[in-house]
């Protein structure tokens, strides 16, 4: 039977299993098992056990629980209020005022934690109430938070990048370098959009009147400086080639402990809760990654990726067309699947496909992560929409409508990095070629 037909059968089976409520990990195992049992003659059980084992102790993956842990420790410190107080004096005079705190705060929080839900929740905990009291347009304060919260996936350290790096066998350090400029691009697009909206309609953002001297501003930012220092040490040690992501993450965990002890928010209880929360999150991800490797090996055995790549090649699509189709496919999938599941499910087929089409896999990783960011704010399943729903008590429709302009801006960002791939690749070749 033709490989692409087999692929169609396996993927429809997995999607059906997922829709009927079966957990992602067993659905991947069953899908891979069916592929091997029906279309090949290899011993299914022993191949499954050894593939899952091999994937589970994959060394680059060791950075994952540590970055999650680091984020969990800092999440439990006074970071939320420090961030708001530290950033607001510098941004309040811009058109759009404190809305920019949401955007830049999320951008900075993204450099601390690798997850978008944590990013949006940390910044939102403090800023939603403040913005509300000062009379900012609620739709814009929700939208900026939901949109910028997704930066947690793109700005290093990023859990999604570790997952992608492991799946596509790409250097995690290089992905971390590649994510920075696109991250800044998205921040800039968001800030420009908010600025323009505020200039066109001053009612949406009250003019902040308090004027502070430079020294006063610095005093308010003071508590934030140690965290900024920690970010520079962690990310800098990776960029400078001094440390592997895992080593940098270990230093990050230690640093997070020191900072949270110094600010007096470290207790045995918060320590234990942070660690157990990291366990939950880390197990959740690694237990869908390991079966994903099994699915990928199984599909490879029965020739699915090669057949689909050959089929797509026979269509002779232009590269732009292929990217447009993949963008639409991921947006649709992202309406129903959460980001990591979407990535592990499609990696086995899509990565050989884009390699055959001549795309750089680092560039593709950044592309994929931006589409996953968008999936965080598309209903009915969008992690950040749920976070914002929880924070504001508004219904899903309102939160979604508020987030849509930012969805559009991310589509624009994808168009920009597709037309100008240098945005992604230039820093990588600059830093690694020294």
């Amino acid at each position: 039977m033709d490989g692409s037909v087999v692929g169609l059968i396996i993927f429809s089976t997995i999607l059906l299993l997922l829709a009927s409520g079966i957990w992602v990990a067993p659905a991947l195992i069953i899908g891979g098992g069916i592929a091997l049992a029906m279309f090949s003659s290899v011993p299914v059980g022993s191949l499954m056990a050894s593939t899952i084992w091999d994937a589970s102790w994959h060394w680059p993956l060791t950075a994952l629980p540590l970055f999650i842990w680091m984020g969990e420790i800092l999440f439990r410190s006074s970071l939320s209020s420090d961030m708001f107080r530290g950033l607001s004096p510098w941004l309040s005079r811009l058109p759009g005022g404190l809305l920019h705190v949401n955007i830049l705060g999320c951008g900075m929080m993204a450099a601390i934690t690798g997850s978008s839900a944590v990013t949006a929740a940390t910044i939102g905990r403090m800023s939603m109430r403040e913005l509300d009291q000062r009379g900012y347009d609620p739709s814009l304060s929700i939208g900026t938070l939901a949109g910028s919260g997704t930066l947690g996936l793109l700005i290093p350290p990023s859990i999604m990048m570790i997952i992608y790096g492991v799946l596509a066998q790409q250097s995690i350090s290089r992905l971390f370098i590649a994510g920075v400029l696109p991250g800044m691009l998205i921040i800039a697009l968001f800030m420009i959009y908010v600025g323009i909206r505020a200039l066109l309609n001053p009612k949406i953002a009250p003019v902040e009147t308090t004027r502070l001297s430079f020294a006063q501003k610095m005093r308010m930012t003071g508590p934030l400086l140690p965290v900024i220092g920690l970010i520079f040490v962690v990310i800098g040690s990776i960029y400078g080639g001094y440390a592997t992501p895992t080593e940098a993450a270990t230093i990050g965990v230690l640093g997070a402990f020191v900072l949270s002890a110094a600010s007096g928010s470290l207790t045995w209880r918060s320590c234990f809760e942070g660690l157990m929360s990291a366990v939950t999150m880390s197990c959740m991800i690694t237990f869908i990654l390991a079966p994903a490797f099994f699915l990928s090996i199984a599909l490879g055995f029965v020739g699915v990726p090669a057949a689909i790549a050959a089929y797509v090649e026979s269509l002779s699509l232009s590269p732009y067309m292929l990217i447009a189709i993949l963008t639409v496919m991921y947006i649709v999938l992202g309406c129903f699947l959460e980001g990591a599941s979407m990535m592990v499910l499609t990696a086995a087929v899509v990565i050989p496909l884009v390699t055959a089409a001549g795309f750089d896999l680092i560039w593709f990783g950044i592309f994929l992560i931006i589409t996953i960011e968008m999936s965080q704010i598309t209903p009915p399943v969008g992690m950040n929409l749920f976070v914002l729903q929880g924070l504001t008590g508004k219904d899903l429709g309102t939160v979604t409508r508020a987030s849509m302009p930012f969805f559009g801006l991310m589509v624009l960002a994808i168009a920009i990095i597709t037309v100008f791939p240098q945005f992604v690749l230039a820093p990588v070749s600059f830093i690694t070629s020294r």
Partner: protein, 171 residues
């Protein structure tokens, strides 16, 4: 966790204790990843070569598998609840039984072949390829233990679901 009787039975307490232990072991493994990586960093500054590639990897695998039962019982393993949240309680019960049953089958299959893998690596004395040269049945046992604990927790959930007419996985 739903409970039909007011005083939890000894079995209930034992099982819940087992799941917490699963979580704590998993947590210790994450601390292990950090500790062995830290040893490598400190060793580099001290001029001693310590290679944590294998040990950190083994701790990671331990953390993944040993924590499965804990995360499953906390409802923290990923599933698509889109349909489940939109149907009536009777239909939901049917789908819950179906999906938990399927999870149980897949887990049982995985447990069987994982024990086979451990047995195989013990019998032929397989050794890890790095400088530790650890017999591979040791770290692989964590995978066997962890998947076994997961199977126990899925059976537990399945039985409670069938008998108590209650769904214990409230998100």
């Amino acid at each position: 966790m739903s409970e039909t009787s007011t005083a939890p039975s000894a079995l209930r307490r034992f099982l819940d204790g087992l799941y917490v232990a699963s979580g704590v072991l998993s947590a210790l493994c994450i601390v292990g990843v950090a500790a062995t990586t830290l040893a490598q960093v400190v060793g580099r500054f001290a001029g001693v070569t310590i290679d944590s590639t294998e040990s950190a990897g083994f701790f990671l695998a331990g953390s993944t598998f040993l924590g499965l039962a804990y995360t499953f019982r906390r409802g923290a393993q990923i599933r698509v609840s889109l349909l489940l949240d939109r149907i009536g309680p009777a239909k939901r019960r049917v789908l819950d039984i179906w999906s938990t049953g399927a999870f149980l089958m897949a887990t049982a299959y995985l447990v069987y072949w994982t024990f086979d893998l451990v047995h195989f690596s013990w019998k032929y004395n397989e050794i890890s390829s790095g400088i530790i040269a650890m017999p591979l049945w040791v770290p692989r046992s964590a995978m066997a233990m962890g998947t076994l604990l997961l199977m126990i927790s899925v059976i537990d959930t399945f039985i409670v679901m069938l008998s108590a007419r209650q769904d214990i996985h409230e998100e």
